[in-house]
């Protein structure tokens, strides 16, 4: 038995948990990228805000773009709903309201994460301390996933957790792919050309995919190979294909899943049909935009099917 409300809360718990971890890693990797690149216009701190679709939100609050403001905005701003600190609050709130179906130690870890971030957020202006904090946050998230993997029965709560995680992961991978494609197409000057390799390496690192990529592709950092890996590889857990496939598997364990599954299948089919000859790196952004819209529809289907169905009494 699983209450619809609890299903919704654990699903979002997992989405926020995945989002927090990805955001922490992305910001760290990005900071390291900017240290490697010469100061120039195309790639700067603001790119981070655009990955999160937060251009307007940013300029409603800040006039200029600088490292501190961007970091404060993305990590600590209480007025921006997408900030890391707000994601952690949402994560904690969802854990708190579904605590009866979760392992007790999971709640303790989530609460510790919350306390850690609450205490350390003021230090984000300091690069060294920020990097350390973000690393610790990602580790804590890993720890929570470890508890889920090793302490939870494979029940509906587990299936909703995994579904939430993989849906969020597809979304995040697509955003990072989209951003890289924009950067590649916009950096036309010769000086940037020579840094293109760094860009692709950063893309891989931000999805913690570099090592696994190298194992099958050696050190050849070619755009087409990187894209094919992150879009269609069936063995790497952060590729679009893998994550969409896993999402389908977990949704399939849930009751009355047919309609939701058919949408997931059609998204998966399109992703697996990816062919770098027809979709050059520069047009990846259009493909990813479309994917994100479809993910929203899929999320709406999940919500309607399990969380807010019509409960009129039979």
């Amino acid at each position: 038995m699983m209450l619809s409300r609890v299903g919704e809360r654990v699903f979002w718990l997992a989405r926020y948990l995945e989002r927090v971890e990805n955001t922490a890693r992305l910001v760290n990797v990005y900071t390291s990228l900017l240290m490697d690149l010469p100061e120039q216009k195309e790639i700067n701190w603001f790119t981070l805000a655009t990955i999160f679709d937060a251009k307007d939100d940013y300029f409603e609050r800040y006039d200029r773009v600088n490292e501190y403001d961007i970091m404060y905005f993305l990590l600590a701003d209480p007025t921006y709903s997408g900030s890391l600190s707000n994601s952690i609050l949402a994560l904690r709130e969802n854990a708190r309201t579904s605590i009866d179906v979760l392992p007790e130690i999971l709640w303790e870890q989530v609460n510790e994460l919350h306390l850690l971030v609450k205490g350390e957020l003021s230090s984000i202006g300091n690069r060294r301390r920020r990097q350390k904090l973000l690393l610790t946050i990602a580790e804590k998230c890993q720890c929570v996933w470890g508890i889920i993997a090793n302490h939870m029965s494979r029940n509906f709560a587990y299936d909703f957790l995994q579904s939430g995680k993989f849906l969020e992961r597809v979304d995040m991978t697509s955003r990072i792919l989209e951003m890289t494609s924009i950067l590649v197409s916009e950096t036309r000057n010769e000086e940037m050309r020579q840094h293109e390799g760094i860009l692709w390496a950063t893309l891989l690192k931000s999805l913690s995919a570099q090592q696994m990529y190298i194992q099958i592709n050696e050190y050849s950092l070619k755009a087409s190979k990187v894209l094919r890996f992150l879009i269609t590889d069936n063995r790497f857990p952060r590729s679009l294909s893998f994550a969409l496939n896993a999402l389908g598997n977990y949704l399939n364990y849930l009751p009355r899943a047919d309609l939701v599954i058919s949408r997931q299948q059609s998204i998966l089919a399109e992703i697996q049909a990816y062919d770098e000859k027809h979709t050059p790196a520069e047009s990846i952004q259009i493909m990813m935009d479309e994917l994100q819209l479809k993910l929203n529809e899929l999320n709406a289907d999940i919500t309607a099917n399990w969380f807010y169905p019509d409960f009129s009494v039979a």
Binding site: M1, L3, E93, R96, I99, D100, E104, E112, L115, F311
Partner: protein, 486 residues
């Protein structure tokens, strides 16, 4: 000796652990010896560890304030309060005796009303009580038990007599903190449990689940749920904790609906599923907007209908709060004699009923020395503590009493017992009470000990967590059983 204890002196108060300034009680000797033998820094380190434990495990309660609701870490004092097992066995009997009489009383007044017919209680005391629910007339809940979970408040006076201060039959809270306090003590002072024979308390969640299941004797595996007002309720942590520990489904009102067939259903990912037993942590007033407050967003429309037709069991039964009335409290010793034919084992605090002219006169004359309580409040609100009140406050109550004497009772200001409590740089005596929890379904169960609450402010008698109170682990110490490794 640890210098933090050097100036410890309970004075004239009854001390739970000490006979006198230098003389520990025999059952607390080892406990005190252990703490006094600890270096100041080592002790303070453990205090810090305990605080961190509570904070990291997210054991909080909500404080409502103008600036928004704040989650505060549960205030816990590391020095346990100990009670001798022999004394406890008698107390346990007394508590069961009392809850049995109270349940028979509630059953009686919603049915035959014999206690009123026979002139033992005046009709208006019952029928005009705020907790009385005419909608419950004619009902007999499973086993005739209305108050399935009760959290009585016990206090000790200067001479050591234990009194029942309140019965708390509506939605008593605190049991999760009792369990968490023990868990923290075990983590922070594991050595103590080797030295002393302490009754374990962790059976509570299982006993709770058993008791709730016993409310549907017709079903082999009833579906049991805990109904919470939600995450903004100050006791939400406890609701979630109990659901988790006892394997109950944690529900909010919006998760439920009552069908045409009068069964209660919860909304699940499979569709609707029937609920058979509901442990509700919502007040009567909010439980069913069709019957009680129509503006309630927390309850379930139609749930009273389902309950009346026996299709769902509700614990505690609606209407049981009538016995929480402070005027009715004064009659509990009479109830015990009337229903059980026994003398009360536990005493009531001496109580003056302001509805009686001669008692009102006495109360008005001694107002500044007494505690005055309204019939229907809990959590220490709306009362007068004479010796600690300003003259204006006393006069305000004088008027209230003259206007509406039926609504008040008065009691002597008890010199509550004290227990050694960690207060920054020293150990000092602080006033304590005790809230054991009593389960009643097919059988009765009393928690060994309970939740000891402590007034952390010097001289204060207010132990409520919402008003600066803390808590202690409570030990029932069995001196007669010897630990093997001694």
């Amino acid at each position: 000796m640890n210098s933090m204890w050097r100036d410890y002196d309970p004075g004239d108060f009854f001390d739970e652990l000490m006979h006198s300034k230098y003389q520990p009680r025999h059952f607390s000797f080892k406990l005190l010896d252990y703490f006094k033998g600890m270096q100041n820094n080592a002790f303070k380190q453990r205090v810090k560890e305990a605080e961190l434990e509570m904070l990291e495990r997210g054991i909080t309660f909500t404080v409502y304030s103008d600036a928004g609701n704040i989650d505060r870490a549960w205030p816990f004092d590391v020095i346990p309060r100990a009670i001798q097992k022999r004394e406890w066995q008698r107390t346990e009997k007394g508590l069961i005796q009392r809850i049995s009489a109270l349940n028979q009383f509630i059953q009686d007044i919603y049915n035959e009303g014999n206690i009123i017919k026979e002139g033992i209680m005046p009709a208006d005391v019952v029928y005009k009580s705020k907790g009385y629910r005419p909608q419950c007339q004619g009902m007999t809940p499973p086993h005739g038990v209305w108050a399935n979970i009760c959290g009585s408040d016990l206090v000790r006076d200067q001479d050591g007599t234990l009194y029942v201060l309140e019965d708390n039959l509506r939605v008593p809270s605190g049991v999760s903190y009792m369990l968490e306090n023990r868990k923290t003590t075990k983590r922070v002072f594991p050595e103590l449990f080797r030295l002393i024979n302490i009754s374990p308390i962790d059976a509570y969640p299982e006993r709770l689940a058993d008791m709730l299941a016993s409310l549907r004797p017709d079903l082999a595996n009833p579906t049991i749920a805990l109904l919470t007002p939600g995450v903004y309720n100050s006791a939400y942590y406890e609701h979630a904790f109990l659901a988790q520990q006892a394997g109950l489904t944690l529900l909010e009102g919006a998760d439920l609906l009552v069908g045409e067939d009068d069964y209660v259903y919860m909304k699940t990912i499979h569709g609707l599923e029937r609920v058979d037993v509901i442990y509700r942590r919502i007040d009567d007033d909010f439980i069913d907007p069709e019957v009680f407050r129509p503006d309630s967003m927390l309850g379930v429309p139609g749930i009273m209908r389902a309950w009346r037709s026996g299709k769902v069991a509700i614990a505690n039964a609606p209407g049981c709060g009538v016995a929480d009335d402070k005027v009715i409290y004064a009659f509990v010793p009479d109830m015990i004699r009337y229903y059980l034919g026994e003398e009360p084992i536990l005493e009531n605090v001496p109580t003056w009923l302001c509805r009686k002219q001669e008692e009102l006169e006495h109360v008005l004359e001694h107002l500044a020395e007494l505690v005055v309580k309204p019939a229907n409040e809990s959590g220490g609100y709306g009362m007068l503590v004479g010796p600690h009140a300003t003259d204006e406050k006393v006069e305000e109550f004088r008027e209230l009493l003259k206007e509406n004497p039926e609504n008040y009772i008065a009691q002597p200001t008890l010199n509550l017992s004290v227990s050694p409590t960690s207060c920054g740089d020293s150990i000092a005596p602080r006033h304590v009470d005790l809230r054991p929890f009593i389960l009643s379904g097919k059988n009765n169960y009393v928690t060994p000990g309970g939740l000891t609450r402590v007034a952390l402010v010097e001289g204060s008698l207010v132990v409520n967590s919402s008003q600066g109170g803390g808590s202690k682990d409570t030990w029932i110490v069995d001196e007669e059983a010897v630990k093997e490794n001694e």
